[in-house]
């Protein structure tokens, strides 16, 4: 990571830990939960997640739609209908692990990310734009 990237990242960092993600969003619980990459939200602040999400959508313009992203994140499961944030997160964390296991990853702004978490960032960027 170059120094300018550090400075950029570090500027976001202080806020990242203390500001709850998605606090201002009016989206349904499941959508908000799906747009919350749990691990990445420890590392990135909201703006970085949004930037990563936008960059992902630039790479995969066919997914530039929140309904489409929710479908892709949910897969064949009914998890999108769940109102349990914890269950949604658990489902997606397992999916992320599987992505890494299978090599289903993508480089976004240099980060090696599971496609699932990249989609979460993309969803976040769409519903918080």
């Amino acid at each position: 990571m170059k120094r300018k990237d550090f400075l950029q990242l570090s500027a976001f960092t202080a806020a990242a830990i203390s500001v709850p993600l998605l606090h201002a969003c009016n989206a349904p619980v499941s959508e908000n939960a799906m747009a919350h990459p749990v691990f990445l939200s420890r590392l990135f602040d909201e703006e970085t997640i949004r930037d990563v999400g936008k960059a992902y959508l630039q790479k995969t313009p066919a997914e530039n739609d929140d309904t489409k992203l929710i479908q892709l994140l949910a897969g064949n499961s009914a998890i999108a209908d769940s109102s349990e944030e914890k269950a949604i997160h658990q489902y997606l964390e397992e999916k992320i692990e599987q992505d890494f296991e299978k090599g289903n990853t993508i480089m976004v702004k240099g980060w090696v990310l599971a496609v699932t978490e990249a989609r979460q960032c993309a969803l976040f960027s769409l519903i918080n734009s």
Partner: protein, 512 residues
Amino acid sequence: MHIDARIPENNGLIEGDICIVGAGAAGISMALEWINTPYKVILLEGGGFEYDEEVQELFAGKATGQKYFPLKSIRLHYFGGTTGHWAGWCAVFDEIDFKKREWIPLSGWPITLEDINPFYPRAQKYVEIGNDDFTLAHWQEKEETLKPFPLDENKVWSKMWQFSPPTQFGKAYRDTIVNAKNIHLYTYANVVDIVANENVSEITEVIVKNHAGKQHTVRAKYFILACCSVQNARILLAANKQATKGLGNNYDHVGRYFMEHLEIKTSSLWLADPADVKLYMMDFGVTKARAELAISEKLQAAYKILNGTSSLSPLELAADQPAFIEVWQDGKDAMEKSLEKFNTKPAKLNMPKGFKAYQLFTRMEQAPNPDSRITLDTEKDALGMPRAMLHWELTSLERNSLRSINTIIGQEVGRVSMGRVKMYDYLHDENDESWPSFTGGGWHHMGTTRMSSDPKLGVVDPNCKVHGIRNLYVAGASCYVTAGAVNPTLTLIAFTIRLSDHLKQKVSNRIN
């Protein structure tokens, strides 16, 4: 016994059983192996016991292609060779390094790791790392607190390195060599020509010169070139009076396949606490062994990549450091002067709470490439030898492999929720073929007299004998077919000891 070749009368004749050309890690190791044998060993060193600018200048030459260090300063030209300022990093080759890999053109040795393994313990003795083996289990037995990352070993494993003090061969073995009755060390004896018999099937003598204007003839039953990859190729190519393309060069392989290890920062690794990194850290001069992250053979094949390992350094210490290629200072004390350019203060970084960041620095083999090569310049040095020219050339395979190695590591640390990897800018675009200004090598020169069972495909045979010439051998990393992931020194010493055993048998049969 030591003789300064500037002192005897001009046109002297020196005779022995074997003649070793070059007194660096390979040449000195070879000589040490022959102490107390009944054979007279001539050890020729171009320089003296101390750095000599006039002698060092003999190594100067032009470089084209990928930016490289000045040729003058990539080797030290005195007794002990470049061990005079090496860092002492030692590791063993992997099985895959010797295999034919369909995705790497010109890979595949005519020997295997099993042929070299018996010689590693003897090589370890010379670099003073004792009998410790290179397995993680061994080091964990010695130090229970060394714990590898909880990654899938079938994907990413922890490859152990050990650190020599580092042994400076010139200092460590000078007295032993000089006091050995059957070793005749000639300093200031630069080989400027090799003379063969009429049909160029046997070497009869070599000619040595120095700046004092003295020239001597050295005759022996066997000759071993142990001058490093640049100079071995240069000497063979320059010996072109009887063989117009140079000795051992009937099929135009001498000087080609010059390989380096790419040593370059590739990504940052952001680890969530509490990641235990002790196994991967190094305190220079203190740490005896540490691990680097390596890619399994299975995944190297799946991703069709070169072999390499990535080390971890705290990002606050590594972030602002220049690359050696950017700050290298030519001339005397080049290493020390270059190190002065490095920052001593850690960079101020604000980490996300609960995270620590590390720079992943990847060392990786370069694929054998016939266009990456040593040739002769028309310009000659002060002793009349054509200067060496280097054209260093990298390919997209190197770039893709660097990216894949770091991707695989990123996938594994992501899978176990340890952290995430962020690639440096130059690796973002898969279609970008350019290399950043900090692309450098490790001063590891290999491949210019590559090994092959087939004379049409290489310079030396599996015993390191030059094809077609009965009594001319090459010691050192110039014989490497591929570079391996790790630094070449320990392995080239092991190779030299193997060659030494082979030669002892040959000499014994011939003389007795």
